[in-house]
Subunit: 333 residues, 2 copies
């Protein structure tokens, strides 16, 4: 194989086939190995189906890369509907000239993350575009999962009294990518939180199926997710500034750069609204999961100010937490 | 709304929401309208799952555009497994500065093609990258379909004696896109054949479920698909040059440009291998479908030269039809 990707690697001809065969060892499974146009598998019941494209720049950052991101992002979107993620598709748009070594590293990450999450890559596609027509590599994953009986999670499901829980510190991913891109160095490096959360969600659902809302606060951060809950549920949300877990290095970076960690993207975080009677048990169970050790109740759903999210600050003041109007940090996912 | 796409349209914030709401009228359905991270629907049995990214350049060409292509391509990949296409995901990577009017035209095509194919767009994603980081617009679709009982189609299913049938002229799509891109004008314009083939496949399966191979000859053309059948089935294939339908204008363009229509991409064509006893009935039924009026038997599967495709030319000679080694026409899908 050449050491860089050529246009011909996307042609459907011999070089395409070499590329596919080169991919296979890391991703092999009986469904993918058939190399048909579609993957075929058995499934029964309620299915969840989702997609995301990943355009993160740079491709590699502390705590992850575009490959890990592409698997975790779609696994997490499925998990947020309570589904057990099963099968992923994988589609590359590659800029001509991308070093093979980088693609191989991304593939190794995809394979590792898929293994960790227990999902199979069953179908895929590769396109190559000329130099200057894409920025190195874009990845799309779509995913299919199975929603267990009795689970009915929706951003419209929040009810007054529900407790709002996050599974850990907010803003790590956005700051990690930004620092890498801009060459910023902090005393303590900030790794991305990029992680598959299906295991954590399974733990939560083992405590109660009565989880009202569940969403991963990616673009737009925790602030945007809470606004989705409030807006779609027609309820108000109050959060306590002091209870929101923020990593010290992220806090310092945000202060330096003028960002609010509540608006910074995460890739291994979830926000949930659960009935008050289940909140403590859910929280306790989350803390026992590797991806929930710093879980915390950060607020609650109220009947007041429907559609609005209000934060009580450490100083005792209240302020509205609005949806961001513009672009804070492009290309972080 | 602004008249061009801004980075902020991909931010997850207010402009993102405006964009999504702007998308909805054309694509609305009860599953998509919930705007959850995953679409949830009931499905039982054998499912087909596939994905493709579309990077065609230019975005608009005679007979279609990237939107119609993105729907038809994925509908066809599902159909080639015999599945009834049901649900599609839709993910955009947009270059900052793309005129809104172009995006709206693409969305209208998506909506029209999805309507024609009878599929629903149920989940999606939008990313915006800076100017120069993508070439206007890339689209990814993934799709889920249901494989009817008794259908078992595979590129490995060809058996000696099977007849090879195509549903019409070969090479239209590639030549249409190339002419548009290079500003070539022919006496008779060549429109792309871009079309959803699920109805045609349903017609064929109504004649017999015993269809051995079925594939849409996109990148690499009919030649590559036949090589897939021969290679994966461990059988030989003989085709008759004179029986292969080629549009006159496509033939003329190919002669002028030095291309072989057998290697040019199609987006509304299928190649099938069916048992000899079913071939005439399948062919007759195909000819009654709008997308099969020029269907023809072009050859047959043989026990000789396993893995190889041989063409008998009009002059009576034989030549091997190999897989293309390099890139013929980049960015045609």
């Amino acid at each position: 194989m050449e050491d860089r990707i050529l246009l011909a690697h996307g042609s459907g001809g011999k070089l395409s086939q070499e590329l596919i065969v080169g991919f296979l060892p890391g991703l092999a499974n009986p469904i993918l190995n058939k190399l048909e146009d579609s993957a075929v598998f058995e499934a029964n019941g309620r299915l969840a189906f989702t997609t995301d494209s990943y355009t993160v720049q740079p491709l590699f950052f502390p705590g992850g890369d575009i490959g890990r991101l592409a698997v975790c992002g779609t696994v997490n979107d499925l998990s947020m509907s309570g589904a057990v993620p099963m099968y992923l598709s994988l589609a590359f748009i590659i800029e001509e000239g991308l070093p093979f070594a980088e693609l191989k590293t991304v593939l190794a990450s995809i394979s590792q993350a898929a293994g960790e999450a227990g999902v199979k890559i069953v179908t895929g596609d590769t396109k190559v575009v000329g130099q200057g027509c894409a920025d190195k590599l874009f990845v799309n994953t779509a995913g299919v999962g199975i929603v267990p009986e009795g689970v009915d999670i929706s951003a419209a499901g929040a009810r007054p009294g529900d407790k709002i829980i996050v599974n850990g510190t907010t803003g790590d991913h956005g700051i990690a990518v930004l620092s890498q891109r801009e060459g910023l160095t902090f005393h303590t490096p900030v790794p991305s939180d990029c992680a598959p959360l299906n295991g954590l969600v399974a733990d939560m659902l083992a405590v109660t199926k009565n989880i009202h809302c569940l969403r991963d606060p990616t673009r737009g951060g925790v602030a945007t997710t809470l606004n989705d809950f409030a807006g779609q549920s027609g309820a108000g949300i109050i959060i306590e500034e002091e209870s929101i877990p923020v990593d010290k290095a992220v806090q310092a970076a945000c202060e330096l750069l003028g960002f609010d960690p509540l608006y910074i993207a995460n890739e291994g975080k979830l926000v949930t609204a659960v009935p008050p009677e289940d909140a403590d048990a859910v929280l306790a169970r989350m803390k026992h999961n590797n991806y929930g050790t710093r879980a915390a109740i950060i607020g609650e759903v109220v009947a007041d100010h429907p559609g609005r999210v209000v934060m009580k600050t450490a100083m005792g003041a209240s302020r509205i937490v609005d949806v961001p109007a513009g672009e804070l940090l492009p290309r972080i996912c």
